[in-house]
Amino acid sequence: MKICVLVKEVPDAAVTKRIDPSTGRMDRSGEKNLNPYDTHAIEAAMQLKEGGEVEVEEIVAVSMGPASAVRALHKAVSLGADRSVHLSDDALAGSDVAATGYALASAIKAESPDLVLLGQQSDDGECYTIGAVVAEHLGMPSLTQVVKMDVEGSGVKCERQAEYGYDTVQVTFPAVISVGDAINEPRYPSLKAIMGAKKKPLETKSVGDASIDVSMVGADGSQVQCGEFKAPPQKAAGQIIEDEDTNETVEKIVAWLDERKLI
């Protein structure tokens, strides 16, 4: 079987995120990293490959983004992907969720994967929707926030938490599965894998290479127009105690609770 793993480059968690007022888009300059949720998807692919229930011929990391996104792909390869595909074109800049999903699906189509894996959400946009969009364009079933996968023959039995408890769903390949962060504990890449990542094949694709209809992507092709950013009503900042002397900290907490009759 062939597995494609969708990965994304996101601003480092420690970087303060902001909207660029001139473009209305997220300012994506500054330190970036592989979306931490995606490492669970790569690990899930690796565990299928190493598990022995199914023969995994290849794991391909796929990303859409500017030139810098290559670093996220290198990280994905260092974690176990065999090669990577980088969808990069100025025409894609400003794509909304639906347009991004369409473009990614177009790039994945050429790979004809049996399974597409991705993380449950991106660390920056707080969206959990991309998997369902990609799946619809590929004509595959999709399931999100999966915390357990058991491959059985031509399909996979998935468990996930939904509105009323845990659901178990049987899905036939090919399929798109977004995994929750409880599914596994991602491994750390070895130094050798990190050093070797840049030598693994990396294919860069333009919109033409991926047969993408440019009228459906980019800021102009997107159906959602975002703008008019405003500040939400802010709750007054709370009191912060840095714990240095724990006895003193506990005294302060008890006094705070007592004052509000919460004990």
Binding site: V97, T129, H137, E228, K230, A231, I241
Partner: protein, 323 residues
């Protein structure tokens, strides 16, 4: 004229509260835009009488289709057909899991725009404009749609209003897409772990991944016992998924929504999916070793430190105070 279609999630003879809120919201918006709000129900043997009750929350018509419950693709098939046949340009979903899966798939099928985590919707020149908080709720962004728009609400964003009359129920049959046949429910709604009651508690002690392991919950139980009275222990999704605490005690997007007098969060970072389930609590106290944890942005008292050091001493001090 802006008609709006709303998906009503059904489980064991009742509709999801967030779906009902979405119907009320859509009914109000459609009224302002000079249109109507309708609902879609997909399930196995749902009675017309039950489907018609959606009218009480504002649905004009209820489009009812037979199909498996708990899966997104069959709902996408039905909603795409109804929106096409009836010329409906907008769909609204209440907060939850299935809603965003259906909404995202529907957006791709219809080439519509999609916005999620929406907390407010406006009508402007007969069109819907969605507002969603972004960047850890530090800013609000407005979405406008070129043609069709799919609006997915944040949990508890839309207020439920009853008082209408029974809706007309219309049976529909949609040609299932090929991918819909590739997924089937094996079991639904499995309750993992003991049945704990957190909804009636006046004080909740909640634990997250920062507890480090399942034994961390023993610390929280001791603290809960020290508080005594109507105090219970709750958890985040990550630790419930990890099997550290029962599902019945989970707060947030696919768990419970609570508003106790005191919410004490230990080792919880404060992700949006958790915040939506507890932000109405009267007093929020957070203990976390990461000074940058988002929870400190909406807590009334924040303690930056090691919960393993603080919680046992806090339990002792509270027990002593009450003795």
């Amino acid at each position: 004229m802006a008609d709006i279609l709303v998906y009503a999630l059904h489980y064991e003879g009742a509709f999801n509260k967030n779906s009902l809120g979405a119907i009320s919201e859509a009914s109000k918006l459609a009224g302002e835009a000079g249109g109507s709000a309708h609902a879609v129900v997909v399930g196995e043997g749902i009675s017309d009488e039950l489907a018609a009750t959606l009218g009480e929350y504002g649905a004009g018509k209820v489009f009812k289709a037979e199909g498996p419950e708990g899966l997104a693709q069959p709902v996408v098939d039905v909603m795409a057909k109804v929106m096409g046949d009836e010329g409906i340009d907008y769909a609204v979903f209440g907060g939850g899991l299935l809603g965003f899966e259906v909404g995202a798939g529907l957006a791709a099928r219809l080439q519509a725009g999609v916005t999620m985590e929406v907390t407010n919707v406006l009508v402007e020149d007969g069109k819907l404009v969605a507002e969603r908080p972004i960047l850890g709720d530090s800013s609000i962004s407005q979405s406008r749609y070129k043609t069709k728009g799919i609006i997915i609400g944040r949990l508890n964003a839309f207020e439920l209003k009853a008082g209408g009359s029974a809706a007309e129920v219309v049976s529909v049959t949609a040609e299932p897409s090929a991918q819909a046949a590739q997924a089937s429910i094996v079991s639904r709604g499995e309750q993992r772990g003991a049945d704990v009651d957190i909804e009636g508690a006046g004080t909740l002690i909640a634990g997250g991944r920062g507890l480090g392991n399942a034994e961390g919950f023993d610390l929280l139980q001791t603290l809960a016992e020290a508080f005594g009275g109507s105090t219970a222990v709750a958890a985040t999704r990550a630790v419930v998924d990890a099997g550290w605490y029962p599902y019945a005690g989970q707060i947030g997007q696919t768990g419970k929504t609570v508003a106790p007098k005191l919410y004490l969060a230990a080792g919880i970072s404060g992700a949006i999916q958790h915040k939506v389930g507890m932000q109405s609590s009267e007093n929020i106290v957070a203990i976390n070793k990461d000074a940058n944890a988002p929870i400190f942005e909406f807590s009334d008292l924040g303690i930056v430190g090691d919960l393993n050091k603080i919680v046992p001493k806090l339990a002792e001090a509270i027990a002593a105070k009450r003795a």
